[in-house]
Symmetry: C2
């Protein structure tokens, strides 16, 4: 199921992709031209949050994949926020418990350009407690393509971290934490921004994780301590940003402890984030395995394509 990159990615000559995979999240579009089970070319474009109406989405897509198109309609599959209420076309949600892919629930996009034969994969929803995901279900499908017998918990850190319980190929339930978005807002737009550094301090991060685990119920007061210690020259800027990251991740681990305690945990995301979460989980005695988010999305899209057959 995993796709290999062709010997040399083709930048110029006429590509003959069988289909195009689109990993289209809030902040980024990653497009892959796939032929003979190989990645022939890759390109990237604007995220769904940067685009407005349908015309803007279509123009952005054509700017990225236009060079890969011939005269015939090109099959494309997309996952992620492109299918949200603020996206191109709203795709439905699969209700858990359910397998993370269901081709019958894909939504065709009514593009003006006849060469675009695009379908958007559904997200997933949970009624109680209310929760939703878009894109992560495809990454989970990618993991299951790689490890069909996986039984445990998948953590997908990001703007909104997702924790999903997987059993017998289905997503049994999931939960979202706003950790990444809070880190971004606090470190760039709150009073804490005055004391944030660009470097990394692993000890400060580890201390922050322990503090967040212990004092999750006092997060609102612990946050300001970072500012006060900075003003009193007790905390360097690099240590402050690493401790903020650790504090929030530690608080997330307390909020989700019922999810990971005693479980087999797989982390899917960027290297930077999965490494931080792996370190935080290791502090709790959990050895998590790490998977690249982009690769898992692509593997999930490829699985959807296979399930669908060669339309």
């Amino acid at each position: 199921m995993s796709l290999d990159r062709a010997g040399s990615l083709n930048g110029g000559g006429a590509l003959r992709p069988d289909w195009i995979a689109l990993d289209w999240g809030s902040s980024n579009l990653r497009a892959y031209a796939i032929g003979d089970g190989q990645i022939l070319a890759e390109a990237s474009g604007p995220g769904a949050a940067e685009l407005g109406d349908a015309a803007a989405f279509e123009a952005a897509l054509l700017a990225v994949v236009g060079p890969w198109l011939g005269d015939a309609p090109m099959p494309m599959l997309a996952c992620g926020m492109v299918g949200s209420r603020q996206g191109w076309v709203e795709a439905p949600y699969l209700s858990v418990p359910a397998a993370p892919l269901d081709n019958a629930a894909m939504v065709p996009v009514p593009a003006r350009d006849p060469r675009i034969a695009l379908q958007i994969l559904p997200g997933m929803r949970q009624d109680r407690p209310a929760d939703v995901m878009r894109g992560e279900e495809t990454q989970i499908a990618g993991l299951l393509a790689l490890r069909p017998d996986f039984d445990g918990v998948v953590c997908l850190p990001g703007t909104h971290s997702k924790w999903a319980r997987i059993s017998a190929g289905e997503v049994v339930g999931f939960q979202t934490a706003m950790t990444g978005e809070l880190f971004h807002l606090l470190s760039t737009a709150s009073v804490l921004r005055h004391g944030m550094g660009d470097g990394w301090d692993q000890t400060a991060f580890d201390d922050g994780v322990a503090e967040g685990r212990r004092d999750a119920d006092r997060l609102l007061t612990r946050l300001f301590t970072l500012r006060a210690e900075g003003l009193m020259d007790q905390l360097s800027a690099d240590a402050a940003s690493a401790r903020l990251s650790g504090l929030l991740i530690g608080a997330e681990l307390t909020a989700t402890r019922g999810w990971w305690l005693g479980q087999d945990v797989a982390l899917i995301g960027t290297d930077t984030l999965t490494q931080r979460y792996a370190a935080a989980l290791a502090q709790q005695g959990i050895e998590a395995q790490q998977y690249d988010g982009g690769n898992m999305a692509l593997a999930g899209l490829a699985r959807a394509r296979t399930q669908k057959g060669g339309t």
Copy 2:
């Protein structure tokens, strides 16, 4: 100690104030011309966060109080973020435990205009846990001017809520929660902004307080539930913003429960905020008394002026 407003505030003719009180916070400057123990005139201007260098502060001040100046130097006292590191001149901090006013620690501002005889009141600091305040100490001094025998806890909700333990006229210790700033960032800049209303829903607020009290250690995951319930049409926009407010205030009450449990609590702030906190505290069986933040700042500045004598 409390100041009365003169029968009719003087807008035009020649004022003869004895001194000028400046309540100069991050987002707002409130200036009061005081004469014969009465408020002769009031005006407002830009907050410290909007101003850059010393010249900008001086120009902003003159634009507001210029009409009240004669030829002689005019005594002025200021409290708040004007004395922060990002303010006009950095004023020192009084270390707790200490009385909230100490005229010996005031800092004279080297203004270019000789009519400005301005001094900035010190803030307060606490070494462990590290914490700082600027402006709130003057409001506490105003409360103590009104209730010299107050023994209990003062809560000053705002961008950064302060909880201060008061005994024998001194601030014994204090703690800051970033509740107001988080509410602002989450409701205007996070994914939750898509589902926020302008109205008010008291039941949703009360539910949020109870949820925040109970699930403070799961705040990161409870926050996203607001978004998911909105997407599933289970939650109106007005209910979502009121519940977010309640959730954060409830979590703050859990983070600070050692401060208010079994205490005499005084709330100082805007009407809107003190009413919300009073309702949240009432849910915990605490009957808090409410005081207007602007009036308390002015009373504190007046107390500082009296202690100082007629310089």
